[in-house]
Symmetry: C2
Subunit: 449 residues, 2 copies
Amino acid sequence: MAERLIVVGGDAGGMAAATEARRRRPDMEIIALEKGRWTSYSACGIPYLVGGEVGELDDLVVRTPQQFRDKHLIDVRTRHEVTGIDVAKRTVEVRDHEHGRTYTTGFDTLHLGLGAVPLRPDLPGVELPHIHGVQTLEDADHLLADAQEKDCRDIVVVGGGYIGLEMAEAFVRRGLNVTIVERDSEVMSTLDPDMGGIVSEAMRSEGITVRCGEAVVAFEEKAVVTENGPVHADLVVLGLGVVPNSGLAADAGVATGVKGAVRVDPRQRTSVDGVWAAGDCAESFHLVSRRPVHIPLGTHANKQARVAGVNIGGGYATFPGVVGTAATKLCGTEIARTGLTEREATAAGLGYVVARITSTTRAGYLAKSGRIVVKMLAEKRSGRLLGAQLIGTEGAAKRVDIVATALTAGMTVEQMTALDLSYAPPFSPVWDPVLVAARKAAELVSGGA
Amino acid sequence: MAERLIVVGGDAGGMAAATEARRRRPDMEIIALEKGRWTSYSACGIPYLVGGEVGELDDLVVRTPQQFRDKHLIDVRTRHEVTGIDVAKRTVEVRDHEHGRTYTTGFDTLHLGLGAVPLRPDLPGVELPHIHGVQTLEDADHLLADAQEKDCRDIVVVGGGYIGLEMAEAFVRRGLNVTIVERDSEVMSTLDPDMGGIVSEAMRSEGITVRCGEAVVAFEEKAVVTENGPVHADLVVLGLGVVPNSGLAADAGVATGVKGAVRVDPRQRTSVDGVWAAGDCAESFHLVSRRPVHIPLGTHANKQARVAGVNIGGGYATFPGVVGTAATKLCGTEIARTGLTEREATAAGLGYVVARITSTTRAGYLAKSGRIVVKMLAEKRSGRLLGAQLIGTEGAAKRVDIVATALTAGMTVEQMTALDLSYAPPFSPVWDPVLVAARKAAELVSGGA
């Protein structure tokens, strides 16, 4: 009988492994089990769907189950939910929602692309039907149906992270009243508060009500109740982040680590022989803090799953780790970060200097030139680059990739000052803002000498 | 008497050194001699001035002579041309065009920011007044005056490099007929011909007549004469590149190298003690080919001059070198390159693989998503990244900075495949085009395994 690979999860963390394994092993039997109806989609595109920039749900699907079947000979079974894993017997228990039956099937190799689930705070009323997480296309489907069904006017977003802010912008585009309730002192707590404050202001200038430093205490039929009283809400979006959907793995005895994410080695192997994992359910290694982290992003899911697939297929590949890069665009404001923030550097036991500069995204004499703020951290004494946060107009965010590359290479800020970055008036001032920040950081490291 | 620094040249290669030296040495007497009327300007902005995107010449001036005098206590003398250097006597001979006199003055330290001059082919008629180089604000001033004086309709640009193409676009914006005559098989010979061909097509689609593989043989009052006959021209722009303006230095016995550029060490010292040089008149070291090169760009001029100024001021700084990054935007097309092209890699004795991929600048499902072509070279066997060329719509060019940073760090394409680059639908597909190219290159290096 052919060797059988079972892949649990039909999005990137699963399917990128399945297709990569197939490429190398035409002989393998590959079954992919997905509890929802869609495979391989861009969950990051959901806010653009809600905002009307993307026409319909199916536009976000990169590859359909049928395409996987036809092109990759992968037996994709949607609405098939894995409900149990027995690593000793090497079987999975599957609930087939399509036909209302449950069955058990065996595997030689198992790959877990279980994903993550939105964090639901343990508060009264949190299970009310107008309270929506935004993680899967199913979530988006429910949210859009709910929004269309009733005459929505007031939207409350709980949590001011990436997805919360992107959803807030999407609803503003649709002409609705949007309020963000954030417990921290500023939105975007993945940035330092001084940078988050710039984002809070940018969101306010777009007509969004931003209520920071205010904790939610309960949910009601028509309101989100905070410490300061009720905020009227026809529809609520949870933007509190996600947690690894690793319960199945943990129950099966697969080791888990940070935030309960599945522990993996650089080849994406779990603690159980022949069981692999990738994506939002798994840990990553942070190349700057040198610690395991859980950073659920599509970029990592795709890379990790590809590495798992290469290895499952008999090749050799490793996923060395992440540096904590993330970016978003909110209305006209671009926001990006990579490496460590002040809080993260402190938690990692690192002493640092902070350079913060303001420049322009293009030559100052061009009309389209806009403002950019770059905050850069470097380790004291050694001058090793630790991270950066960037906020600005068009052209600001993608500059974070320079810093991400320099972090991966372990550069010092002094070395960065000599980087041969591109310049032409429509792209940059002659000193790119990243170089200006690096220069300032290097001066701080050397004590201004 | 105070120690005296004389700086020859009032643009970046000179003035960035002067101001940096001043910062460290408040006591030093600093005299800057500039033969033209302007100091510290963006010559790269000239096409935007001609195209009408920048209002007037003075908008391109970063700092005026008076600002240097007031803020930096630098004795800037414009229309003062240095006509001779005596390194033994430590004097310069100066022609003061303002007052029609010549004088000699002494220095303790001399810094040369002599710049470059447009290449003028040795052809009949090349000195005709309607034939313009574009290197200094004086050049721009003459060109604009000439264009306004007569009723221009037909513009011929000789040479399809950066400045030639940018000037062609600028005249098209003004509604004029523009022809580019290029001797090579495609425009933009700093790219490989397959990539240059994409640019030739893009220029044609903007209504520019592009005549490649056609050498100019003479210039006439109303025509540029090529091998194939005359092309009518009311005004001619020379875009054949520049040569170091190093004659003064060479005559004084200062050593020169590639293309006659002034030879400098990493601290920007010339072969003569106490004489420094930076910018378009000087050599750079290429970090990929490991050879001296002459790459006249404002970014290098600024960095080199700053390094010279730090050292002249008693500090310690080095300019490690360049990786050959350059970028431009022509109408809607962004073009960038870094590292080595195929021709350059061959000249450097390196064996290479070539990966060329087509992707999109943003998530494919967004309306603003456009096409990007990335060509990447890696060394055979070692997999060391050698360079990349990128052409595409908005968001394409600045991605070259990722490659420039990876080149500086000496990364392999395999290492690049794991780079934690930013992703959000408005910025990139989930696999950034640079990663897709690196993946393909890495597969070619390992023989597809």
